[in-house]
């Protein structure tokens, strides 16, 4: 570990690691995108996209409502890519694959500062209206009154509880430093389906990147909604070049 303390002061409050989220709800969609432009989008982090199919990378879009947790209540939108563990050889196997968080707008100041300071997560402030109460889950991200992205996730079939990824590595890159964060999840009330996502992109740079990956025309591989999720985020560790 070494470089990162497990205690931080954020806006006068002591935040102790691991950070615990006691109640969150999520909707997400995964897309298969061409690997070459995806590689270019995340090149700044020095990480390699995972290619579960030759020439295809996986981009994941998710929106999250944090109701009860150590970073306070807030809404978040995430753009992530599945990446190989640094130094791991190219393989089709998904074992050891992590999630590189490319963009992570949030709508509250406390989590903005905590996320950037503690883990180097690429958080920025946005308006993130969200409706998770209906069968179709909807979210939009707006910055300066302009819509960056809108995502709707249609209902799937219930999965037995206990399924899903219990622990994965989240990667982030801020100011040229790439970090890895242990991220544990315990979902319940999970519904999943093939396809099921509707996406609309605005004119923000990130929207342009996603359009460059063909996301405005793509059918989702799968869509997932999680009614109740608890999570833990460990301290971040720097990943060597």
């Amino acid at each position: 570990m070494g470089s990162t303390a497990d205690k931080h002061v954020i806006q006068g409050e002591h935040v102790t690691l691991p950070v615990r989220i006691r109640d969150a709800a999520v909707a997400s969609a995964m897309f298969a995108v061409p690997a070459a432009p995806a590689r270019a989008v995340i090149a700044y982090a020095g990480l390699e996209v995972a290619e579960p199919l030759p020439g295809r990378a996986i981009c994941s879009l998710a929106f999250v409502r944090y109701a009860d947790g150590d970073l306070g209540p807030y809404h978040e939108f995430a753009v992530a890519f599945l990446v190989r563990r640094p130094g791991a050889p190219p393989t089709r196997r998904m074992k050891g694959v992590g999630a590189f968080i490319h963009w992570l707008p949030v709508n509250q100041e406390f989590t903005l500062e905590a996320g950037r300071t503690i883990w180097g997560f690429p958080k920025e402030l946005a308006d993130i209206p969200m409706d998770l109460s209906g069968r179709v889950k909807r979210c939009a991200v707006r910055i300066g009154g302009r819509t960056v992205i809108e995502l709707a996730v249609r209902p799937g079939l219930p999965l037995p509880s206990g399924t899903g990824a219990p622990k994965i590595d989240a990667y982030s890159c801020m100011d040229g430093v790439t970090r890895r964060t242990g991220w544990t999840m315990a979902p319940s009330g999970v519904r999943m389906r093939p396809g099921g996502a509707t996406l609309r992109l605005g004119d923000h740079p990130v929207a342009a990147e996603l359009r460059g990956l063909g996301l405005d025309r793509a059918r989702a591989l799968s869509s997932t909604a999680v009614r109740h999720l608890t999570m833990e985020f460990d301290a971040a560790e720097e990943v060597g070049p």
């Binding site: 306070g72 209540p73 109460s133």
Partner: protein
């Protein structure tokens, strides 16, 4: 940011449904005034949430409720979740307890509505969400005081709706079955028979049902948050005697007249 900040007033916000309602609204960037008697619980609800403001206030005190509402300014949504539910036999529960339940659950509702409705009616918009209970529709053993107070809330909501319909304020009277909150878990542990061994429904599902209900016509006053709640209310309407008997059997003490093995 050019967004319009909306204000919500949430009572009973130190725990359970009220706390989750306050946190969800805060997450959605509302300005939230969270009200409860329990200052420590309020502080937990509001931790690391600068847009969640806490006010210690007893809803049985009309002047105190009036003050909190005045300080909150123009509110768009009122979520009134403050309530107590001590159980006791109809002929034996201490009168002081009966009176307390009526003061908190029924008069508290009257005070909150009187402090907030006039402003919302003046502005021609707003949402008043009152928490009642399935017990108001199907009282069981030991719920005489609680079910009576919640039935009074139902009647109050209906009369208020009649008097204010068409003026832009949506009223919802939410009647869930048992909800998995710290309060319910305490009561279920104390009175396993009277609560029928029922596991409470997750509070998040109750709040989802409330959110969905706001898209329905104003006249859709009552919210029954899950299928079991809806089925029970329908059964009570269509088959009152049979439903009463089933509820009696399910909530009777093991040594009671409606004998049921534990």
């Amino acid at each position: 940011m050019t967004r319009e900040v909306r204000t919500a007033l949430v009572t009973g916000a130190a725990g359970g449904l009220g706390a989750l309602a306050a946190q969800r609204l805060a997450a959605a960037a509302w300005d939230v005034v969270a009200v409860d008697l329990d200052a420590a619980g309020l502080a937990r609800t509001a931790a690391r949430s600068p847009n969640l403001h806490t006010r210690v206030c007893d809803v049985t005190d009309p002047a105190a409720v009036e003050r909190v509402a005045a300080e909150a300014g123009p509110v768009q949504r009122v979520v009134h979740a403050a309530a107590i539910s001590p159980l006791g036999a109809a002929l034996e529960q201490p009168l002081a307890d009966v009176e307390r339940v009526l003061r908190v659950d029924y008069l508290g509702t009257v005070h909150v509505a009187r402090a907030t409705m006039p402003g919302m009616l003046d502005r021609g918009r707003g949402e008043l969400i009152l928490f009642s209970s399935l017990a108001a529709w199907v009282p069981g053993y030991l719920t005489a005081a609680y079910a009576s107070a919640k039935a009074a809330v139902n009647a109050f909501a209906e009369a208020l709706y009649q008097e204010t319909a068409g003026r832009g304020v949506t009223i919802r009277c939410v009647c869930p079955r048992q909800v998995d909150t710290p309060m319910y878990r305490r009561i279920a542990a104390e009175h396993p028979a009277a609560t029928g061994g029922m596991q409470g429904m997750p509070p998040g599902l109750v709040l989802d049902a409330v959110d969905r209900s706001l898209a329905r016509p104003a006249a859709d006053l009552f919210v029954f948050p899950d299928r079991l709640t809806r089925t029970t209310v329908t059964a009570k309407r269509l088959l009152p005697a049979a439903t009463r008997r089933v509820i009696g059997l399910r909530t009777a003490p093991p040594d009671g007249r409606a004998d049921r093995s534990p």
